[in-house]
Subunit: 258 residues, 2 copies
Amino acid sequence: MRIMEQEKQKTTDGGNVEGVDQTEVACESCKLFGFLRFFEGIGVESSPQFLSRQRVVAKGERLFVSDQPFHGIYAVKEGSFKSHLNVDQQGEQIYGFYIPGELLGLDAIRVGVYGYQATALENSRVCLLPFEQLDALGPNLASFQEQVIRILVDQLRHDQRQTLLVGRKSAEERLGAFLLNLAERYARHGFGGDGFRLPMLQNDIANYLGLSMETVSRTLRAFREQELVNIQGRRVRLLNPTCLRSITQYCADAQPGG
Amino acid sequence: MRIMEQEKQKTTDGGNVEGVDQTEVACESCKLFGFLRFFEGIGVESSPQFLSRQRVVAKGERLFVSDQPFHGIYAVKEGSFKSHLNVDQQGEQIYGFYIPGELLGLDAIRVGVYGYQATALENSRVCLLPFEQLDALGPNLASFQEQVIRILVDQLRHDQRQTLLVGRKSAEERLGAFLLNLAERYARHGFGGDGFRLPMLQNDIANYLGLSMETVSRTLRAFREQELVNIQGRRVRLLNPTCLRSITQYCADAQPGG
DNA sequence: ATCAAATTTTGACAATTGTCAATTTTGGCG
DNA sequence: CGCCAAAATTGACAATTGTCAAAATTTGAT
């Protein structure tokens, strides 16, 4: 039945997505925006035309799969995604979550294939910056690549922190850092209000953080009992970020996807 | 006293390093070799002259430190290094180990500063590919950056595997994967003989893998008792890589540093 | 060769987290 | 509005790993 749901959604290309309570990100707050200048005048145009290259992805549908040929950089416009890989039939490993304004697939740019798959966590919309031949960028290529390198390095540093987090920190610290990071990323893209919506299952959070689902549930309860956070269903509000920060020893961090 | 040792070594620049039982890597087996073509004819020359740009680094001495301005890519010629960062006065986190033929510092290339520090694990020698302005590369810049992107992406995938390893695997699996990875890297750079020398302390291995020193010691003993490996002091030989691989579910992996 | 310091090994025990199973809650759909 | 499936919660227990302390071994310097 999930398949049918997908088919239904696929045909409504360009329309509004049902069931997404998150507002879409403004183009100016999107990481993709900074890339557009490289493409001006060579076929991939600036924002108005660019916006028409959107794609609707239904909850559970995959945006791309591992080893699929690279066909461009995706930016999440609305909704959210997880990147993950199914390793030797022992279950999946989730590498990251992507919220509106963040980029997906950039690290396939020179290898030519995606190294993992991306699945929509809810009904979502993405913008695609398509390019088959980077050479079309001409004199812009070097500065474009420079930008790519910068983002990859950011990602690298994020991954190193993640390794530290997942390898050496307690469940409390991991979950605290996770919540703070997410809050910061939402704020960065213009969803600065009070609290945010968790788009992923606790199961996914557990997988991402290297914990069991039960530990995630129990740790969140502990946070609730200490009045550090307010969690009702999918809605989260950080009641005492300062305290959470000190428990977690969290310091600001690059977001995955640049 | 460590300081004095360093000073002594610093003055013997270019000479042979004492106490290194590892042979130096041949230039043709070094990751840096592939970069040289980009620099031909613009001041940084091909291998013979390039080799004169070497630096001796004594055991315990730092090759560079965090936030220091980027001044080039290092390749390990002889000896070994660890990359690490001291996070909020709670001890260091080791991000990687580097053996002859591998590169250090590449990810500082566009940010402009190193994001961690690198310390010699033994008396070592490095080659420096120095460059202040990439622009001097002229028309070669784009293809040089392409190479850099490829290496960064490899590194990214390695880091993702590392996160998986450290976050979700048992001590046995982590240590098995560590040994297999190291053996493979030594083989790749021409040290294919029987076994290799562990250049780092068990303490460092523990730190890198997110384990305690004691667990590393005990797990190695278990491997020894199962006759999977032969460990005498620093010398390691894998007696049954096949079995180790199946215990570990290890599959080949990019090396850190490209 | 010898000695001191650093590293590794070992044991006992505690703490954190995972596993399994059952129950409750939530969310989507008719 | 209520039903059903998915998700989350809870409890009991087990297993892995960490911590602390002491002993043994290795390493490096004299």
